[in-house]
Symmetry: C2
């Protein structure tokens, strides 16, 4: 595997910013977009449960409608691609079974060999007072972090969007009744040459205020 | 900025796995570790609020004690580095003020110019029924995703750990009473040559089961 130098690793995080204005004339090449989708497929999650679905919105009319569900943010349509990150709501034993079945298939393992793992995960999800949707949402944010970082490494800009109306997006995407629920979204593409936010110094606390050594 | 090819972007996610056995004899070089810390400092968060602290545990005795707060996982001590991801609990207007003050300082902006932004963020955090700690935890998972991906890009292995006892870790790290609370942790280093998990095929659902086109 080709690796990235320490300097390049820092540079990609300095280069990345939440794009305010995408250049609507630019499209992410097919091969690079396919790699970003693979990033989503390969994203890690606790127990490998993948409690998610990533909806790539290609329909121009739907994207236009989504602007209204994203407080008017033009990044929804001006970016080359737009992805909605959804969780499987109320993750339960059936979802664990689906994962275990997949594990058996891929690792050619007998189902019984994973009985202990299955039981442990089902027990974890069923803990009294455990907010399973909040847990699934955190997993989705790993995928979001991966997506933004990998895009930046490839020279592709992103704009993560929490300022959205999830129930409205669920409705527009037809997610209602499917068991999946919108959590967050992200546009991807290329910054506009006149996005003044691109060159603004990044506001971060000093390293000594966020990194503590013990 | 040097960019990564689509093939290399996919390769790094294929290469990454949750390390089960680190090689305890290997240490991440200083320059590369400094880059990973920078990744944490530069991680994006909603509104740029950075509701977090990253505790790098260097003290060998404390790391040894942390094994017991991580259900016996040896990765806590066998990895080169170990980071605890904590949130600022009960994020409130004071935290927003701290962020706004930093923004004014870095962007040489008069405080009044950010009054609208301040008011909006304070209103957001104070929404009735809003679970601010759950929200902060999601932000931390962006940093976790970034950290794992950037490490992999540099050829450094990681092991994210949700299977931990956060109150016990808070106690061992002296976080009690500081306003910060452990959420998740991550070891970093190099896989042991005999970690049989390294070569296991990754269990992921088929792309068509997690990526939906609309």
């Amino acid at each position: 595997m080709n690796t990235v130098s320490a300097a390049d690793a820092v540079a990609l995080h300095q280069w990345r910013y939440a794009v305010k204005a995408f250049d609507p004339s630019k499209t992410i090449p097919t091969e690079q977009w396919a790699a970003l989708e693979q990033t989503l497929v390969l994203a890690p999650s606790s127990f490998g449960l993948q409690p998610w679905k990533f909806i790539v919105v290609e329909d121009a009319a739907i994207r236009e409608e989504l602007i209204g569900a994203a407080w008017g943010q033009r990044q929804v349509v001006d970016g080359s691609h737009f992805v909605v990150f959804a969780i499987k709501s109320g993750l339960n034993a059936d979802d664990v079974d689906r994962h275990i079945a997949r594990a058996c298939e891929i690792q050619s393992a007998p189902k019984e060999s994973l009985d202990g793992l299955r039981k442990m995960i089902v027990g974890f999800l069923g803990m009294p007072g455990f907010d399973v949707d909040a847990w699934s949402a955190k997993q989705v944010y790993i995928a979001l972090g991966n997506f933004m970082t990998t895009a930046a490494a490839m020279g592709i800009d992103t704009c993560p969007m929490e300022g959205i109306n999830p129930p409205k997006i669920d409705e527009l995407l037809g997610l209602e009744g499917t068991g999946y629920k919108t959590v967050v979204a992200c546009g991807a593409g290329y910054r506009s040459a006149d996005d003044k936010y691109a060159e603004r110094p990044k506001v971060r606390f000093a390293a000594e205020d966020v990194i503590q050594r013990v």
